[in-house]
C-alpha cells in the first residue's frame, strides 16, 4: 500500500511537536532540553576548562568534544547496550564537526568545551535533536558563537519527500525509504551536517533541501525563544549594567 498519508496526520513538510528549554541542569555551565515528537535530548556543556591528556591541547584555540549517548531504556523496544558503540562514536564525531564551525574559542587557548548529549527517549531523528539541544546549551554556557545550529531530518517514503521522519516511517519495509539528517546555520543557511541512508535522486535531494530550509527556520525560532525565555520576568524591564 502506497504511503500517501502520514500515520499521525502530519503534512509532508510538517515537523513533530517541539518543546525546548534552557538551563535544565543546574551543575552544568550551560544546558538545554529539546524534544521533537517523542525524541528527547538533554545537553550539558562544561567549560572552557583545562584539557587532559595534554597532547590534545591546541595552543592557538580551544577545542570542542562531544559525547552522544542513548540511555539503555531510551529505545523503541530492545534495551540499548550502555557505553560507546560504533554508532554512538560516529554520531559524537559528526555532532562535533557540526558545532565546530560556529564556536569561536580563540580567546581560550589550550582548553576544552565538553558537550554531553543524553537521550532519554528516541523515536528517530536523535542526532538532530542532539545537535539542536547542544547548540542551545553552548549558547547558554556563554560560549562565543557566530550562530546557533539547527538540525532536522528529511527523507523519502515511496514517492513522497517528508520532513522529520519518526521511527515507524523509517522502518517501513514494503516501500523504498531514504533518511537524511541535515544541520544548518539558520542565518547563512550553510550546511554543517548532511548524511543519508537510502537513495534520493538529484531532484529529490534538491526538493528535500528546500523543505529542510523551511523547517530549519521554524525550529531555529523555537530555539531562540527558549534562550530568551530564560531571562523573561513579568513586567520588570531588562536593563544594562
Amino acid at each position: 500500500m502506497a504511503y500517501t498519508k502520514r500515520h499521525d496526520g502530519r503534512k509532508f513538510d510538517e515537523t513533530r511537536e517541539i518543546t525546548a528549554k534552557v538551563g535544565v541542569i543546574k551543575n552544568a555551565d550551560g544546558s538545554a532540553y529539546f524534544k521533537i515528537g517523542s525524541t528527547e535530548a538533554y545537553a550539558a556543556v562544561y567549560g572552557p576548562r583545562e584539557l587532559y591528556p595534554s597532547f590534545l591541547k591546541d595552543p592557538s584555540r580551544g577545542v570542542i568534544r562531544c559525547y552522544y549517548n542513548m540511555l539503555p531504556f531510551s529505545g523503541m523496544g530492545e534495551r540499548v547496550r550502555p557505553g560507546p558503540s560504533r554508532r554512538s562514536k560516529e554520531i559524537s564525531y559528526v555532532t562535533e564537526k557540526a558545532l565546530q564551525p560556529v564556536i569561536n574559542l580563540e580567546d581560550f587557548p589550550n582548553t576544552v568545551v565538553d558537550v554531553y548529549i543524553e537521550l532519554t527517549e528516541t523515536d528517530a531523528g536523535s542526532r538532530c535533536a542532539g545537535i539542536c539541544a547542544a547548540a542551545m546549551a553552548l549558547a547558554d554556557a556563554g560560549i562565543p558563537m557566530r550562530d546557533i545550529v539547527t538540525a532536522v531530518s528529511a527523507g523519502k517514503v515511496g514517492k513522497n519527500i517528508l520532513i522529520d521522519l519518526d521511527y515507524s516511517e523509517e522502518a517501513i519495509d514494503d516501500e523504498p525509504v531514504a533518511d537524511m539528517p541535515v544541520a544548518m546555520l539558520p542565518r547563512t543557511k550553510e550546511v554543517v551536517l548532511l548524511q543519508m541512508d537510502g537513495q534520493l535522486s538529484e531532484k529529490e535531494l534538491a526538493d528535500a533541501l528546500v523543505m529542510v530550509q523551511k523547517a530549519i527556520d521554524k525550529i531555529a525560532n523555537i530555539q531562540r525563544e527558549a534562550l530568551k525565555a530564560k531571562f523573561a520576568d513579568g513586567d520588570r524591564n531588562v536593563i544594562g549594567e
Binding site: 583545562e50 589550550n110 520588570r236 544594562g240
Partner: protein, 240 residues
C-alpha cells in the same frame, strides 16, 4: 507623544536600545553602526557573537554577556584555592579555565628562607584573596598577595556566583555591596572571578547577605534592583 516631544527626547540623550539577544541575531544594519565587544560585522550587518544583553549607544553596538566563565584580567582581585605546592610557589584554582601561580616573591611581605616548608604559608585547600599581576597570551596567570587587604582567608563563608554578575553585586561606586555590608554587619570580599567570601558576627546575618547576593545574581538583568534588594534586606532583618 507628539513629534516635537520625540525630537526633544532624542536630543537630550543619545538613543539607547537594550534587549536580550541570541548568537547569530542581526543587531543592526548599515555601515552607520560600529561593531563593539561581543559582536562582529558580516557585510553590512552587525551580528551577535554570544547570548547576552545588547546595548546600542549612539553608533556603537555592544553586547554584555549574561553567562560564561571568568576571563582573567590584570589587576583583578580574585579569590582562589591553593591546589598544589611546587618549588617555585603555589598553584591556585581561581575558578576559570586556567590555573594561576603565586610565586615566592609575591607571596608575602616577609622573607621566605630557602629551605622553608611552603605549606606553613599557604597549605593545600586554603583560600586566598589575591591580585592578578600578569596574564600572558597563553593565559599563564601570576598572582600576588602583596598589597592592601590581600590575605589568606580563614573562617567565614565562601560561595560562588556567575562572574558576569559581579559588577551588579558590587554596584555603581560599590553602592550595592556597601548597602549589604552595612545592613547585615558582614565583612564581604567579592572576587572578580565570582567567588565571594563573607564573615559576620551572627550566622543569621551571614545567611541574609548570602541570600541577597544570590538574589542579585538571579535578577541581575532586571531594572530597579537596588530598591528590590533594600526591601529584601529590610524584611530579612525584621525576621532575624
Amino acid at each position: 507623544m507628539s513629534d516635537v516631544e520625540v525630537q526633544q527626547a532624542t536630543e537630550v540623550a543619545p538613543v539607547e536600545i537594550k534587549r536580550i539577544v541570541v548568537p547569530g541575531e542581526v543587531l543592526a544594519e548599515g555601515m552607520d553602526y560600529l561593531p563593539g565587544e561581543g559582536t562582529f560585522r558580516d557585510n553590512n550587518q552587525i551580528i551577535a557573537n554570544a547570548l547576552g544583553l545588547m546595548i546600542i549607544r549612539g553608533r556603537l553596538v555592544k553586547l554584555i554577556p549574561l553567562s560564561g566563565k571568568y576571563m582573567p584580567k590584570r589587576d583583578d582581585i580574585v579569590i582562589g584555592m591553593v591546589t598544589d605546592i611546587t618549588s617555585k610557589g603555589w598553584i591556585v584554582d581561581i575558578n576559570c579555565a586556567y590555573h594561576a601561580m603565586i610565586t615566592l616573591r609575591d607571596a608575602t611581605a616577609e622573607f621566605i628562607p630557602k629551605e622553608a616548608d611552603l605549606s606553613k604559608y599557604f597549605n593545600i585547600g586554603e583560600y586566598v584573596l589575591a591580585r592578578i599581576v600578569k596574564v600572558t597570551s597563553q593565559k599563564l596567570i601570576d598572582l600576588s598577595l602583596r598589597g592592601p587587604r590581600l590575605m589568606k582567608l580563614t573562617g567565614g563563608r565562601l560561595f560562588e556566583i556567575n562572574p558576569t554578575k559581579v559588577p551588579r553585586v558590587i554596584g555603581k561606586k560599590a553602592s550595592m555591596i556597601t548597602m549589604i555590608k552595612e545592613k547585615t554587619a558582614c565583612n564581604v570580599f567579592v572576587g572578580q572571578n565570582g567567588l565571594i567570601w563573607l564573615n559576620g558576627n551572627e550566622p543569621k546575618g551571614e545567611v541574609l547577605a548570602v541570600n541577597a547576593i544570590l538574589k542579585i545574581e538571579r535578577e541581575s538583568h532586571l531594572s530597579g534592583l537596588t530598591e528590590e534588594i533594600e526591601k529584601f534586606l529590610d524584611e530579612g532583618l525584621k525576621n532575624l
